[in-house]
C-alpha cells in the first residue's frame, strides 16, 4: 500500500488525514480524536473509514486531551487533532499532566500553525506553540516541510518511539520539497543543498523558501548557501547543524514562529554550547499576527524567500567581523 508522493503544492494537514487512514488500517489500537475541526485537520478521513474509533469531542479541547490520556493509559494510541492554537495553547495543562508527564504514546496533530492560517487573524494564528512544546518535558516536536515529509512523519509516529509527540501542520498548499515520500525522518535534520558560505536552517513552511533564497543568493550574489531542513525540533540532532555551521561560519534560521523558543533558539543553543558562530533569525518578533491571505501574512512579516535572502546578505556582511571578533588581550593594549 505504498502511498503516492505528491508533486503539486498541497497542505501538510492533507498528509495527516491520509496517513492516519493508513495507520488505522494497519493498527487496530489507533484511535483519532478531534474537536469540531475534523474537516480542517483532515482527521475526518479517519473518522469516515473507522467511525467506531473516531471521537469528535466538539469544541472542548481540554476534554479531548485528557480523554486521550485515558485512552492511551488503556492501550490505545490516540491521534488528537485541532488547530495549533487550541492544542498547545488552550489545552496546555491537559497535554502537560495527562500526556507528557505520563509519558503516554499520544500524537497531537496541530494543524493551522503559524500566520499562514491567514484570514482568521491573530486570535487563531499560533506563533508560540513550538516554544511551549519544546519547553514541556518529554514532549517531542516535529514540523514537516511538505506533504511528502508530513506523510512519513505521521506514519513513523506510530513506530518510531512511544514518547509523546507534537506534530505541527499547516493550512495552505505548500510547494513540494521532497520528490518522494522519504523512507525516514532520519535524525530530523536533512541537508537539502550543500554550500560553503552560509547555512540557511529552516523548518516547516519556511523550508521551500530557504531553498529559493539559496538559489537567489547563488544567482545574484554568487554565494553558496547550504540549506538544512530541521523537521524534528526536539530532540534536535546537533551533529549536522554543527557540521554545517563549522564549515560556513555563519547561519540564518527561518521559521513561521516567534524567534523566542523556536528554531532560532534551538539552533543557537546547540551552537552556543559546542561551536559558537553568529546565527541570525527570520521569524516573528514580539508581535501578534494579522488578518490577510496566507501569502500576504507571510509577506507582511518578512517570512519569504527574499526575507531570508536579505537576512543572509546582512549576515554575510557581518560575517568577517562577528565570526572572528577582535579578541580582548595583549594585542589591544
Amino acid at each position: 500500500m505504498a502511498a503516492e508522493a505528491k508533486t503539486e503544492p498541497i497542505a501538510t494537514r492533507q498528509a495527516y488525514g491520509a496517513a492516519l487512514v493508513e495507520l488505522g488500517e494497519a493498527h487496530e489500537e489507533v484511535v483519532a480524536l478531534d474537536a469540531d475541526l475534523a474537516v480542517s485537520t483532515q482527521s475526518i478521513k479517519f473518522g469516515k473509514r473507522f467511525p467506531e474509533r473516531f471521537f469528535n469531542c466538539g469544541a472542548a479541547e481540554a476534554n479531548m486531551m485528557s480523554m486521550a490520556c485515558g485512552l492511551a493509559a488503556t492501550g490505545k494510541v490516540p491521534y488528537c487533532s485541532t488547530f495549533a492554537i487550541f492544542a498547545a495553547g488552550r489545552a496546555y495543562d491537559q497535554v502537560r499532566l495527562g500526556i507528557a508527564h505520563n509519558e503516554l504514546k499520544v500524537r497531537i496533530g496541530a494543524s493551522h500553525g503559524g500566520v499562514s492560517l491567514g484570514e482568521d487573524g491573530a486570535s487563531h494564528q499560533m506563533i508560540e506553540d513550538i516554544a511551549l512544546m519544546r519547553a514541556m518535558p518529554r514532549m517531542q516536536v516535529v514540523v514537516p516541510a511538505d506533504y511528502n515529509q508530513a506523510y512519513r512523519a505521521v506514519i513513523d509516529s506510530f513506530e518510531a518511539n512511544d514518547e509523546p509527540m507534537y506534530l505541527r501542520l499547516g493550512r495552505p498548499a505548500t510547494p513540494i520539497v521532497y520528490k518522494e515520500i522519504p523512507e525516514t525522518l532520519a535524525g530530523g535534520v536533512d541537508v537539502l543543498r550543500e554550500g560553503k558560505d552560509i547555512t540557511l536552517i529552516a523548518t516547516g513552511h519556511m523550508v521551500w523558501r530557504a531553498v529559493e533564497a539559496a538559489e537567489s543568493l547563488e544567482r545574484e550574489d554568487g554565494v553558496e548557501a547550504e540549506v538544512l531542513n530541521v523537521s524534528v525540533l526536539k530532540p534536535i540532532q546537533s551533529g549536522p547543524v554543527l557540521e554545517s555551521v563549522s564549515k560556513t561560519g555563519v547561519a540564518v534560521t527561518a521559521e513561521e514562529h516567534r524567534v523566542v523558543g523556536g528554531l532560532a533558539d534551538a539552533v543557537r543553543q546547540v551552537a552556543a554550547e559546542q561551536h559558537p558562530v553568529p546565527i541570525f533569525a527570520v521569524g516573528m518578533g514580539d508581535e501578534f499576527g494579522v488578518s490577510g491571505t496566507a501569502e500576504a501574512c507571510m509577506e507582511h512579516f518578512g517570512l519569504t524567500a527574499s526575507g531570508i535572502a536579505d537576512r543572509a546578505r546582512e549576515a554575510l556582511l557581518l560575517k568577517p567581523i562577528v565570526s572572528r571578533p577582535p579578541l580582548f588581550g595583549p594585542e589591544w593594549t
Binding site: 466538539g58 499532566l97 505520563n102
Partner: protein
C-alpha cells in the same frame, strides 16, 4: 532513612490484624458495612500518620473521602492487587488527586506495595508523590492532581474499554471534589459522557463544602451539583457520604445503569477527627504533632471499638452482604445525615 524514622516510629503503619479475605483473583469481596467502617477508620489512621511524618499534604481532604475509598477498594471494585494490569479490572481514578494519602493507604493495605512505603510520602526518592503518579505507583491508573481533568481521563478509559469489549465488565469510578465541579472541564466531560452513550462510568463527588480559601458557598457556589449532572443526561443521586450502607448501595447500583452515573456525597471535611471536622483552615496543611496525637488517639479508640463490636457482631450475623447492609445502620459511628 531508618535513622530519620526513629523519632516517629510510633507513626509507622502497622499491618491490619483483620485484613480482607480474598476469594481469588478479581473476585469481589463482600464485607459487611461494619467491616468497611472499620477499614475506613484504619485508612484514616494511616493518613494521619503519613501526613504527620511527611509534614505536608492534604489531610482533611483525605479524611472526607475515607468512607468512599474504603467502600470502593474493600468491597465494590473488582481488582486484584497481585495483577494490577488485569485488563478486566474496574478502574479507580482519584480525580481529586490531592487526597492521594487515602488512596495510598488503601493500596498499601491491600498489597499493591509495602505498607512501609507510606512513610515516604512526598519525600525525595520515594515512590509516593504528592499527587498520584501512574508511572511510579502500582494501582494508580492515571496521574491526576490538576483539578477538572480526572473525569475526562475516566471518559477516555471508558471509551477504550468499550473498544475492547469490556464496557459491560469493567466499571470506571472517578472520585471528584467540589473543586473539580468548579472546573469547566468537568462539565465538558459530563457533556461528552452522555453524548458518547457511556454506561460504565461512575462519578463520585466528595462534596465536603470546604476549599482552600473558604467554604464553597463563599468562594464559588456550585449550586445543585446533582441536578446539574442530571441536566447533563446522567443518572444522579445525592447521598450522605459517611453513611457506609448508602455509599455501598449507590456505588453498586451505579454499575447496572444505562447512563453515566453521578453520586453526590455530602461529606464533612476532616471527617473522623473532631478537631478538624467541618472547620476551615486545614486544607493543604499537615497536622501539628499535637493535633496528630489527638487525632490518632480519637481514631485508634474508634478502631478498637469497631474491632470489638465487629467480633461480637460476626458471631451473631452471617456473612450475607444484604443483611450486612442493614445492620450497618446501627453502628454508633455512622452518623445520620445532617
Amino acid at each position: 532513612m531508618t535513622a530519620n524514622l526513629a523519632p516517629v516510629s510510633h507513626l509507622r503503619p502497622v499491618p491490619d490484624p483483620q485484613p480482607p479475605s480474598r476469594k481469588g483473583a478479581g473476585e469481589p469481596a463482600r464485607p459487611s458495612v461494619a467491616e468497611l467502617e472499620r477499614w475506613a477508620t484504619l485508612l484514616r489512621i494511616d493518613c494521619v500518620r503519613m501526613l504527620a511524618v511527611a509534614k505536608s499534604g492534604h489531610l482533611d481532604s483525605s479524611l472526607s473521602a475515607a468512607d468512599i475509598v474504603a467502600a470502593l477498594y474493600y468491597r465494590v471494585l473488582r481488582h486484584d492487587p497481585a495483577a494490577p494490569e488485569w485488563p478486566d479490572r474496574d478502574r479507580f481514578v482519584l480525580c481529586k488527586g490531592h487526597a492521594a494519602p487515602i488512596q495510598y493507604a488503601a493500596l498499601a493495605h491491600l498489597g499493591y506495595f509495602p505498607l512501609e512505603d507510606l512513610m515516604g510520602l512526598r519525600q525525595i526518592g520515594a515512590q509516593l508523590q504528592g499527587h498520584p503518579d501512574m508511572n511510579r505507583t502500582s494501582g494508580v491508573e492515571v496521574s491526576t492532581g490538576s483539578l477538572g481533568q480526572g473525569l475526562s481521563m475516566c471518559l477516555g478509559i471508558c471509551l477504550a474499554l468499550r473498544l475492547d469489549g469490556l464496557a459491560e465488565t469493567a466499571q470506571v469510578f472517578g472520585v471528584l471534589s467540589d473543586g473539580d465541579c468548579q472546573e469547566g472541564q468537568t462539565w465538558e466531560a459530563a457533556t461528552a459522557a452522555a453524548h458518547f452513550g457511556i454506561t460504565n462510568l461512575t462519578a463520585v463527588v466528595d462534596y465536603n463544602h470546604l476549599q482552600t480559601d473558604g467554604t464553597t458557598e463563599e468562594v464559588m457556589d456550585t449550586g445543585d451539583v446533582r441536578a446539574k449532572f442530571e441536566a447533563f443526561g446522567w443518572d444522579a443521586v445525592e447521598i450522605h457520604g459517611h453513611d457506609m450502607a448508602a455509599v455501598v448501595e449507590a456505588l453498586e447500583r451505579s454499575r447496572a445503569l444505562d447512563r453515566p452515573a453521578a453520586i453526590v456525597c455530602q461529606t464533612t471535611k476532616g471527617k473522623g477527627v473532631s478537631a478538624m471536622e467541618g472547620r476551615f483552615g486545614f486544607h493543604g496543611k499537615p497536622p501539628s504533632p499535637e493535633l496528630a496525637a489527638e487525632a490518632l488517639a480519637e481514631l485508634e479508640a474508634r478502631l478498637e471499638r469497631q474491632t470489638g463490636s465487629l467480633g461480637a457482631g460476626a458471631r451473631e450475623a452471617g456473612a450475607d452482604p444484604a443483611d450486612a447492609l442493614e445492620t450497618g445502620a446501627d453502628d454508633p459511628d455512622s452518623d445520620p445525615p445532617e
